[in-house]
Amino acid sequence: MVLKEDIFRMTIYLDYQSSKPVDSRVVEAMLPYFHEKFGNPSALHEIGDEATEVLEKCRQEIAGFINSEKDEILFTSGATESNNLALIGFALRNKAKGKHIIISEIEHISIHNITKLLQRMEFTVSKVPVDQYGRVSLKKIADRITDQTILVSVGYANNEVGTIQPIAEISRLCREKNIAFHTDAVAAEGLLPLDVKKDSIDLMTLSSNDIYGPKGLGVLYIRKGIKINPQIIGGGQERGLRSGTENIPAIVGMAKAAEIIRQEREEEVKRFKAYRDKLIKNVLEKIPRSYLNGHPEERLPNNAHFRFDGIEGESILLSLKDKGISVATGSACSSKTLEPSHTLISLGLLHEEAHGSLEFTLGRFTTEKDIDAALKALPEVVDRLRKLSPLY
């Protein structure tokens, strides 16, 4: 195979949150399904049967990844579609029971925008604030539950600051009150052990790329007994809940990616944690007036999110780009809307602090050399920009 991850030796990539390379073992597993094994599972001949068989085998593998049953796994085109199907599909199917939905202030932008649509469909939506570390308070959710509440949606972990939510506690509260619980687990996927049975989860969003599988594939886990309306209508694939010919190569890829995670996660996460802790410790020590955003302990093992007084994130990002280092920022100046990240504002940060934030996310091909290079470059960059700043 030529498809090695050597590309990562040329650039220092510390933005795994935004995109992950597909693991070469995954690519290898996918390749036969583009050409030799091209069947449509709906077809009744041998090539079609072969496709059905591999589809169900993959479904089983992915079910095992989150400890669900095989027929609780639904394939979609990605996490955004899964979130749409979970919220809109559930709300429309269950509106006779009530029209109130609860989400947190730091949900992924797709959840925020989906609930805006639901509000126009006469649903009421409550947004629960988080504490300064980005944790949702169980009490604040409980306070907002009414006899009209049908669904609570809180992300497993935040995709920006990496704060992990008390999911088991929230889902238990929902189960007691007979309210459905959805979690977008994309940020936590591959990093934390996911168990829908242990955590009493009713609906869960997953993405293929977030475990080093191909883009364009997502999963919605739907617990048996939970009813939703389909959003894409057609030939009745995926038990009629998501029509469209199944994307077999991608499904094979995601199943392989899940298998690799199952075998390697623990060891991999140990490595991420060591690098992350080195990064956090040294940045806070070396750079005056630098701060860690998010929770000091309850955070994803691959996430380090900082802010620096007196400077702006896009400037830091551009300067690091000049040194071959790829990172992300929550600054408005690099967004399409010119609004600062709603997650950072929800932590209680001032706008200028949100503008001065920088996010590092580590992944499978990160080496200690990458961390050392970032630690060498960052203090110089911050220092130069502070010399230009009227605020420092």
Partner: protein, 257 residues
């Protein structure tokens, strides 16, 4: 076009900004535009000799295009008469830089405005806005929600400091006492914001230094409009007097002495 796709010329000025700094002395005037809230702040100082801009320096907080436009205009303005310099437009600056991403044309292209502000200040012989600028505290309006959340996140006294432990706390400017209080609360709480309608703190040097060294954040030229929440305080609405803009801040407690 991505908001961060810049021309080589923009990147050159970003990497090697010209004329960074602050001028002092006679025949010097200062101009300032923008606001850290919106992500860009620019300050220029100009030195005028025989009606010409003899020297010019800048400081910028902001994105790549904010730095580059400020740097570029210092080159354009140097040596020009005040009348000529006043005619430099935002478009002139953007053109000289071989263009800016469309989304950045308005937000981060403030250099021409800041230069004009400096020249106007010079021509009006307007002195630097001094630290001791009088504050406009007198006409504080009613704060919505203050009564509703009294003792549920809104406090008129702060005898019990442990109450603020782990709470993001907003302290409203009620003179030196409130500033001292903000400092004490910051020993308990990791997040204390001091809100003042003034442009500068009215306190002695010792207190100012202590504040500067502390983690207390100051929001200048700002007023508290509304306190919001669900049973207890969860967020506040703030009026930014400088930009005449309103925005929300997530806070768990508000102290109004």
């Amino acid at each position: 076009m991505k908001s961060t796709t810049y021309s080589e010329k923009v990147m050159d000025h970003f990497r090697n900004p010209r004329n960074v700094g602050i001028l002092e002395g006679k025949h010097v005037a200062k101009g300032k535009v923008g606001n850290p809230v919106c992500g860009d702040l620019m300050e220029f100082t100009i030195k005028v000799k025989d009606n010409r801009i003899d020297d010019i320096k800048f400081k910028t907080f902001g994105c790549g295009s904010a730095v580059a436009t400020a740097s570029m205009i210092t080159e354009l303005a140097k040596g020009k008469t005040l009348e000529e310099a006043l005619k430099i437009t935002r478009k002139d600056v953007a053109d000289e830089l071989d263009g800016l991403p469309p989304i950045k044309m308005h937000c981060s292209n403030l250099a021409a405005d800041a230069l004009r502000d400096a020249i106007n200040n010079y021509q009006n012989k307007q002195k630097f806005k001094t630290e001791a600028e009088k504050d406009a505290k007198g006409d504080q309006k009613v704060i919505l929600g203050e009564k509703e959340f009294l003792n549920n996140g809104v406090y008129h006294e702060a005898k019990n400091l442990s109450r603020f432990k782990e709470k993001r706390t907003l302290v409203v400017d009620r003179g030196v006492k409130s500033l001292e209080l903000a400092l004490s609360i910051s020993q308990q709480s990791p997040r204390v914001v001091f809100l003042t309608p003034s442009k500068a703190l009215s306190a002695d040097e010792e207190l100012k230094t202590k504040i500067k060294q502390s983690d207390v954040k100051i929001l200048y030229e700002s007023r508290l409009l509304e306190i919001m929440g669900f049973n207890t305080v969860e967020k506040v609405k703030i009026h930014d007097l400088n930009e005449d803009d309103e925005y929300e801040l997530f806070m768990d407690a508000v102290v109004i002495l």
